[in-house]
């Protein structure tokens, strides 16, 4: 029997893996993908909550609505993020995060 906890554990694992990737990896594309993975971990947790919170035989749709919203925002974020990566690559000729070492302005 698969319970809510199983879903949440998978979600937490996904989130931790994503976070670790963001912090450790140096290729900015990998970092970006890890970021997406963290978002997906959040989405997974939300749909799991939706599925397991049943009232009158129906799931809680507000959580699912929130997931769609997150996906939309993520799409926008990808567009902006990739543009930044392209710009960074043009400036530094590298996709290494260490290349962006002047972030203090």
């Amino acid at each position: 029997m698969i319970t809510l906890n199983h879903y949440l554990m998978v979600s937490a694992a996904l989130f931790a893996i994503g976070l670790a990737g963001v912090v450790v990896r140096r290729n900015i594309l990998i970092v970006f993908m890890c970021l997406e993975m963290m978002l997906s971990a959040g989405n997974l947790a939300l749909v799991a909550f939706s599925r397991f919170r049943v009232t009158d035989g129906l799931p809680d749709y507000s959580a699912q609505a929130l997931v769609f919203f997150t996906i939309t925002v993520a799409a926008a974020e990808v567009a902006v993020g990739l543009a930044i990566i392209v710009a960074l690559y043009r400036a530094k000729h590298s996709v290494d995060v260490e290349a962006a070492s002047k972030m203090q302005g």
Binding site: V97, S101, Q104
Partner: protein, 641 residues
């Protein structure tokens, strides 16, 4: 003419003249003197017209309107006191204006001088007419300002600048007390500061209007004494009583007509006049009355002694003024308002005469006022010499001149209320008065010239200057007679002098001369004159330096004016400067270095440390965000429990 017009003219015309002169002085030039003299002449005529008018209060306009219950009004309280005082002020004022036309004719800053003089006339008539204490205080400050401007007229001289500052600041000390006194009365009398309102509250028992005063009198009797003493403090400053007398001798740095008008005849007498207006307050507090009498007596005595060892003719007259003001204050302290005001009037005439006479000497000798270089001037300046002689006799208290009658009056009152020992002390002061007056006259006008060069260049002043001298000399001779009932009746004032002093419900009483007392008083004057003549006649060094050889300590004490100035200087050097040193240390090291610079340094230092957190490398920021998320999660768990 409608009645309220006259007080309004007397009050506002000098202001108008001052404004015109001070605003247009560049284009007016010499005409400014004529405007000023003209306005003072009109004021004189108006005040003479006022002499016969009935007693009344004229509300002129509202100065500040807070509510129906709280207003500061400008009004004119016309009664015997203000009529007499107004006449003296405008009369001496007009003569001094006229005289200034001659005295200041070579001065480049004449428009400024006459503008300030008109300003002074405005302020002084304001004090005289004031029907409430708030208005009096406003004009009280204005005369202080005009006095400051006129003392510092020759501001190119550092000594004149210093004297002006000293006069202003010393006056401010007194004025501060005056203000506190006014506020005390304000609270006691439910915000009514009019003299009539205050007077009825203080004198009438019962009635609804006077409940606060009655309550204060029953519950806090000391408060009435405190108010009286605070009000008196204003008079101490303005009338230059010990210990705030130090400004008046220095004020002689101003032009001599100013010394005559402001620092002898009128402004310094304003303190006496103000106390007479507040006499209900002194009557309500016998202790304050005693203090006032004592201060006046001490001033009369010390100043008379100080005058004996000065060499500057104006300074001698200044100390003499202090001494005579002491007599007046003393009289007022004893409740003898009529006697005090009488002396104020006669003194205004003969002291203005003496000052203008000394101004004539100074003008004629090209600004020489040290007696060491004068002497023998009577032959050269017959009119000035004769009028000065008359003024000197009046000051020395020789009958039948004006000073004798009024001083005698005060001494009689002193004898009645304080007894023999006080009379003895003030009698001694009277001897000293006659002594220094004789010394002044002999060393200036008699004997051989001390400096032949100065003597040769001396000439009698023109009529515009000697004319006022003659007028004042006539008054110095005759103004004393008005105390006699028959003289008063003949002049149309049936009450004699008291006509001008007492309010209708108090008097007037008749004056009865005490011939034995008068004879003693005359004896005192003659002793003083002979002592002065003995020491200074014929310029004999062996006699004139007797005091210095007989008792050097006493000589130095008097010569150095009882060390008041040195004491204040030491007080300022040690006390004020010492304290300000501490304050400046606190400001520099605590406020500036620690408070301002310290906080800036802390910010700078912490910025220097914290800037290392900003590495600019993306993984570091990512790590910080991750740790932040973890931290928030842990914090959430902990808070949730």
């Amino acid at each position: 003419m409608e009645q309220p017009m006259i007080p309004l003219i007397v009050l506002m015309l000098p202001l108008l003249s001052a404004l015109i002169i001070l605003l247009l002085h560049r284009s007016l030039g010499g005409a400014s003197a004529l405007i000023s003299i003209g306005s003072s002449l009109i004021c004189l005529v108006a005040s003479i017209a006022l002499l016969g008018s009935p007693d009344k209060t004229y509300p002129l306009f509202t100065f500040i309107h807070f509510s129906d219950a709280l207003n500061f009004n400008i009004g004119a309280l016309i009664n015997q006191q203000s009529k007499g005082m107004l006449f003296v002020v405008t009369f001496v004022g007009f003569l001094v204006h006229l005289y200034s036309h001659g005295y200041m004719k070579d001065d480049a800053a004449r428009p400024r001088y006459f503008g300030s003089l008109s300003m002074f006339m405005f302020s002084m008539t304001g004090i005289v007419l004031a029907d409430n204490l708030a208005m009096m205080f406003i004009f009280w400050e204005l005369v202080g300002l005009s006095s400051y401007l006129l003392i510092g007229h020759w501001f190119q001289k550092p000594s004149a600048c210093n004297a002006a500052n000293k006069a202003f600041m010393t006056n401010r000390i007194g004025d501060f007390g005056f203000m506190i006194g006014i506020l005390l009365l304000f609270s006691m009398n439910a915000g009514d500061l009019s003299f009539e309102g205050l007077k009825s509250s203080f004198t009438n028992g019962g009635g609804a209007a006077d409940w606060p005063v009655k309550h204060v009198r029953d519950a806090y009797p000391w408060m009435i004494t405190a108010a009286a003493l605070c009000i008196f403090m204003g008079a101490v400053g303005k009338s230059a009583q010990v210990p705030l007398h130090v400004w008046l001798p220095d004020a002689m740095e101003g032009p001599t007509p100013v010394s005559a008008l402001i620092h002898a005849a009128t402004m310094v007498a304003a303190g006496v006049y103000m106390l007479v207006r507040c006499s209900f307050l002194i009557a309500a507090s016998p202790f304050a009355g005693d203090v006032i009498t004592a201060v006046g007596a001490v001033t009369a005595l010390l100043a008379a002694l100080m005058a004996t060892q000065q060499n500057d003719i104006k300074r001698i007259l200044a100390y003499s003024t202090l001494s005579q003001l002491g007599y007046m204050i003393m009289a007022v302290g004893m409740g003898a308002n009529a006697e005090g005001m009488f002396h104020l009037y006669t003194h205004a005439f003969f002291k203005a005469l003496l000052f203008l006479g000394s101004g004539s000497v100074i003008h004629a000798t090209h600004h020489n006022q040290e007696m060491d270089k004068l002497g023998g001037l009577w032959k050269k300046m017959p009119i000035t010499g004769t009028t000065f002689f008359i003024g000197s006799l009046a000051l020395a208290g020789i009958p039948p001149l004006a000073g004798f009658w009024s001083k005698d009056e005060i001494l009689v009152t002193l004898d009645k209320s304080w007894g023999a020992w006080a009379l003895l002390l003030l009698g001694f002061a009277a001897v000293m008065t006659a002594f220094y007056t004789t010394r002044l006259f002999i060393r200036t006008f008699m004997g051989k010239p001390m400096d032949q060069d100065v003597y040769d260049h001396t000439h009698e002043s023109g009529f515009v200057m000697t004319g006022p001298l003659i007028f004042l000399a006539l008054l110095a001779i005759f103004s004393g007679f008005i105390i006699f009932h028959d003289v008063g009746t003949a002049l149309g004032f049936p009450g004699g002098i008291t006509e001008f002093i007492f309010l209708p419900e108090e008097g007037p009483h008749k004056y009865h001369i005490d011939w034995a007392f008068a004879a003693a008083s005359l004896g005192i004057g003659i002793v003083g004159v002979f002592a002065g003549a003995f020491m200074y006649w014929g310029n004999r060094k062996d006699r004139s330096t007797q005091l210095a050889t007989w008792n050097p300590g006493l000589y130095q004490l008097i010569k150095n004016k009882f060390y008041f100035d040195d004491l204040y200087q030491a007080g300022i050097d040690r006390g004020v400067l010492g304290f300000s040193y501490i304050v400046s240390w606190f400001d520099r090291y605590v406020v500036n270095d620690t408070g301002i610079d310290g906080s800036a340094q802390v910010t700078g230092f912490s910025g220097g440390v914290l800037k290392h957190l900003q590495t600019g490398r993306v993984p570091n920021y990512a790590m910080a965000i991750a740790l932040g998320v973890v931290g928030l999660a842990i914090a959430g768990l902990v808070v949730r429990g």
